[in-house]
């Protein structure tokens, strides 16, 4: 598990609008990479191009290259469905399937690949995923209850369990804590720290303390101005980005928010 992502010369368009321009970066396996930057600079857009989720928007397209180890995920013969099975995603709003039980939520992805899974096999997958998501002890007695009955933080961990149940290589998280209270946020941050032993993790966050706490690498995005495309300004060790960044722009952003 856990693969490296290599992005080179990536442009993302919505119709004629260039939203993200010329991003190149390497995302290391078994590490957490944080994307920071002001709102509207294309962090979500960029994140979604890493598992081709941007294609849900009808007019979105990319040029450039994204490699998952040796696989060019935009090669013509590659199916976006297959890409998403390798690169899971967690969203800003916890979004468990409301008509499904906790158990069925967790097993939903595995069922796609393997309809005739044995019951004991499914039980194992559910327990392991819920343990990985630090949720098992809280829900083990009510697996048949709807996932929507959980608290927001529990729902988000359920979504993480659902994503890791299919054992992806990479986990993308788009502001996973911004709808949560501080205690739930800490629980998710702890979880991210333990998940990085097995996964490549990218997290978009508005909260710079959070980026500083959870990530190993930080990438700073910014806009030259309104209507301009977002660009990757600087990327490096989180420590370095937060203490002595190379670019003035990065420093302004960090000190403006931190100081």
């Amino acid at each position: 598990m856990a693969k490296r992502i290599d992005v080179s010369g990536l442009n993302v368009y919505y119709g004629d609008f260039l939203a993200v321009e010329d991003v190149s970066m390497t995302i290391e396996p078994r590490a957490v990479t944080a994307f920071i930057g002001s709102s509207g600079c294309g962090k979500s857009t960029f994140l979604r191009t890493l598992n081709r989720m941007h294609e849900v928007a009808p007019n979105a397209r990319v040029d450039g290259k994204v490699m998952l180890d040796d696989l060019d995920i935009y090669a013509p013969e590659v199916d976006p469905v297959a890409v998403r099975r390798e690169i899971g995603m967690v969203f800003q709003q916890p979004n468990p399937f409301p008509t499904m039980s906790i158990y069925d939520n967790v097993i939903a992805g595995s069922k796609l690949n393997n309809q005739r899974m044995s019951k004991s096999n499914a039980d194992d997958i559910v327990e392991r995923a819920l343990r990985d998501a630090n949720l098992w002890d809280e829900v083990k007695d009510r697996l048949a209850k709807p996932g929507s009955g959980l608290s927001g933080g529990q729902q988000q961990r359920l979504c993480i369990a659902r994503a890791v149940a299919v054992q992806p290589e990479v986990l993308l998280m788009d502001e996973p804590c911004s709808a949560l209270d501080p205690i739930s946020t800490l629980a998710i941050e702890d979880l991210i720290a333990s998940l990085k032993e097995n996964y490549t993790i990218c997290i978009v966050t508005h909260n710079m303390q959070q980026a500083a706490r959870v990530s190993d690498q930080t990438a700073f995005f910014n806009l030259a101005g309104t209507g301009q495309p977002g660009r990757l300004i600087e990327m490096g060790e989180t420590n370095k980005i937060f203490t002595k960044p190379d670019k003035k722009e990065t420093e302004n952003y960090i000190t403006g928010r931190f100081g």
Binding site: V81, R84, F91, P98, T99, L112, S148
Partner: protein
């Protein structure tokens, strides 16, 4: 909150009742009461007016199939609603079974598969279907559809005739329950499609993206996120359609060649529905006839009410899982 001291909590100032609020509130309340009053009035009318025939009836009204109600004052009427109620439910159920899958398919196509231009064109066409008067559907059914369908009926009874529903010999005129069911299905297709399409489009983006991010194909996404979410809406639409099919009169009266029997053979002539029976018999009703037809109307009213309540129950039962 409402129990706290009113001098400290901000609330609408007491003395100043805004005229708009008052007018609107009373209008809304009045409309609500009016609807209940109309419903109660209709029920009372049906019960009172049917009493005369029901009390003179020598047969069991609920289990008898014959309809011998046009009697002179000194004769005893004997009539029952069994065959009619059976035909009513059968025709409506048949229409529902045919229409619902097609409607859901069209709605899914419009909502998730068709390119935008085609989707709105299709939606428009489906809405137009709803605007066609039922007498036109009747004409189309009797003048065109039944002839065209006869070879298909023949095929059905040749290959599936061992199922009682499709047993032969098939009616040569095609004026059968199956034809009525098919025409009714076309009539209720628009309402089920329109409501299904609306709920399918309301599926939160988060649920759809959650499925896609797990590596679901579009169809798998629909099965995981769209259909479960849309289910209560589809049921609601189907029940509205069922309500229309139960009460539909003109098209059925024109297509069916009636016989007051309880027959499960869809491809043979026979059966009749309450609504069509009332429409056809009313002009010639004498003696207890009118009152007896009103009793049949009461049964139709009751069936529709039960169907609606059942639908509400089905929709409500899944509530825990749908919010």
């Amino acid at each position: 909150m409402t129990t706290t001291d009113s001098s400290t909590t901000p609330r609408a100032p007491k003395g100043k009742r805004r005229i708009g609020d008052v007018v609107f509130g009373n209008t809304a309340r009045g409309s609500g009461i009016l609807i209940l009053a109309i419903l109660a009035g209709v029920a009372a009318f049906l019960i009172i007016q049917s009493f005369d025939a029901l009390s003179a009836n020598t047969a069991n009204f609920l289990t008898t199939t014959e309809w011998d109600a046009n009697t002179d004052a000194d004769e005893e009427p004997a009539f029952g609603v069994a065959a009619l109620a059976f035909g009513t439910v059968l025709a409506a159920a048949l229409a529902l079974v045919i229409a619902t899958p097609i409607a859901v398919g069209i709605a899914l196509f419009i909502a998730y598969y068709a390119p935008r231009r085609l989707a709105s064109l299709l939606g428009y066409i489906v809405d137009l279907l709803a605007a066609i008067p039922s007498v036109v559907y009747g004409l189309w059914g009797i003048g065109y559809l039944v002839q065209e369908l006869t070879p298909f009926y023949q095929w059905l009874s040749d290959y599936l005739g061992w199922i009682p529903l499709f047993a032969g010999p098939i009616s040569t005129t095609g004026r059968t329950m199956m034809s009525a069911g098919i025409v009714l299905a076309v009539m209720i297709l628009p309402i089920i499609t329109a409501i299904s399409r609306d709920v399918f489009l309301q599926v939160p983006r988060g649920h759809r993206e959650a499925a896609l991010a797990l590596g679901a194909t579009r169809w798998e996404m629909i099965r995981m996120a769209v259909l479960p979410f849309g289910r209560p809406g589809v049921i609601g639409g189907a029940m509205l359609g069922l309500g229309r099919a139960l009460g539909e009169t003109m098209a059925v009266a024109m297509i069916l060649s009636p016989a007051l029997i309880i027959s499960p053979h869809l491809l043979q002539s026979g059966n009749q529905t309450i609504a069509a029976h009332i429409a056809l018999q009313y002009p010639e009703a004498t003696g207890h006839g009118v009152s007896a037809l009103i009793a049949a109307g009461l049964v139709l009213f009751a069936i529709t009410l039960v169907v609606n309540m059942a639908a509400r129950y089905v929709v409500a039962r899944r509530k825990e899982f749908s919010e």
